[in-house]
């Protein structure tokens, strides 16, 4: 058994199978649990613990996938490039909104962590939670957090946003399309973009643009401070 699980093919196969299952299930029933990342994460963790397979074995294949995070970050440039038209029209409000949102996210996280008595390392781990994965991992590594937990916080924030944003938007009457898109992208990254798409094309374009922009702003702040 060990021969099989310690092959890099094991981690690769498991990840692909589980991700494909998540995709198939999501098509049948659009539930939060079938969010590809959440479903894959929970299933793989359960499988490894039940079958008593070490994380080290899984990561032999996992690391091959992990290497691809750098190209995934790089290709976000293509997404921004495609939205360049909407950015030109509204660059100042969009940039200001992303900057304000990112600073609010940082300050509120640090203050809440202090109030709740979190250790320094946990604070740094939770800090990059509002930006999309590649940026969050990069920042977490830079400021001394634990990237694996950071990505969990990123997912939690995304799902919170997905669940709560329709109520917030209705309750607070957030009707400005540009502002709604920017605030969704800034506060809950890719899942905010999903919500924004339900509001309209313009909102979605703004959300995906803001998701990248806030990530860059957060990296910029981290570079300046560290």
């Amino acid at each position: 058994m060990k021969e099989i699980t310690s092959s890099p093919m094991f981690g690769l196969t498991l990840t692909c199978v589980v991700y494909a299952m998540a995709g198939a299930l999501k098509k049948k029933k659009d539930s939060l649990f079938f969010n590809p990342l959440v479903f894959s994460l929970v299933s793989i963790c359960l499988f490894l613990s039940v079958a008593n397979i070490s994380l080290e074995d899984y990561q032999k294949g996992g690391n091959l996938i992990h290497v691809m995070l750098s190209p995934v970050t790089c290709i976000l440039a293509m997404m921004v490039y495609r939205r360049i038209g909407s950015l030109r029209r509204n660059w100042l409000p969009v940039a200001a909104g992303c900057a304000a949102g990112t600073v609010t996210a940082i300050v509120s996280t640090v203050v809440l962590c202090r109030v709740l008595g979190m250790e320094e390392q946990m604070t740094m781990t939770i800090l990059p939670k509002s930006v999309t994965g590649p940026f969050a991992i990069a920042v977490s590594e830079m400021i001394g957090g634990i990237p694996s937990i950071t990505i969990a916080c990123v997912s939690i924030t995304g799902i919170t946003g997905l669940l709560l944003s329709p109520y917030l938007i209705r309750f607070l009457k957030l009707s400005d399309p540009v502002a709604a898109g920017v605030s969704l992208g800034t506060s809950c990254h890719a899942l905010g973009t999903v919500r924004a798409l339900e509001l309209g094309e313009e909102q979605a374009a703004m959300a995906s643009l803001s998701m990248c922009l806030s990530g860059i702003i957060l990296v910029g702040i981290a570079v300046l401070l560290y």
């Binding site: 793989i44 990561q59 976000l76 440039a77 969009v94 609010t104 509002s130 590649p134 502002a179």
Partner: protein, 119 residues
């Protein structure tokens, strides 16, 4: 063949990003440097979007897949997470609401300011 070429271009840009990141006088993650580099190439027209379109869309559409290994890594920290789970949920929730509101009203405010200036 086409997709392999496209991936080759993307990997090459990432490699260049790593090179640049190594010689920068400050620390900036190489993925971010490669992203800025690709953006620069696209904006200047040095690289046409079609040259990386299929491979790029594949990466963008399946972004979640590439995070799976790093998120599974949290198994190692299971105890820390269990200890803090309620606090983490609370922080993510409150911070999300504040972030959404602050960026929304900043955009509205700046747009109003700009309209006022135009009149």
């Amino acid at each position: 063949m086409k997709v392999i070429c496209q991936l080759g271009i993307i990997f090459g840009i990432c490699l260049a990003g790593e090179g640049i990141s190594a010689v920068l006088p400050f620390t900036c993650p190489s993925g971010i440097v490669s992203m800025l580099l690709l953006f620069f190439l696209l904006i200047c027209g040095l690289l046409k979007e079609e040259k990386i379109k299929e491979a790029g869309d594949f990466l963008l559409d399946n972004m979640a897949f590439f995070y799976i290994p790093v998120s599974v890594g949290m198994l190692e920290y299971f105890d820390i997470i269990r200890q803090h789970v309620v606090k983490i949920l609370l922080i993510c929730l409150l911070s999300f609401v504040l972030t959404l509101i602050s960026s929304y009203y900043t955009v509205v405010f700046v747009r109003r300011l700009m309209k006022g200036g135009a009149d």
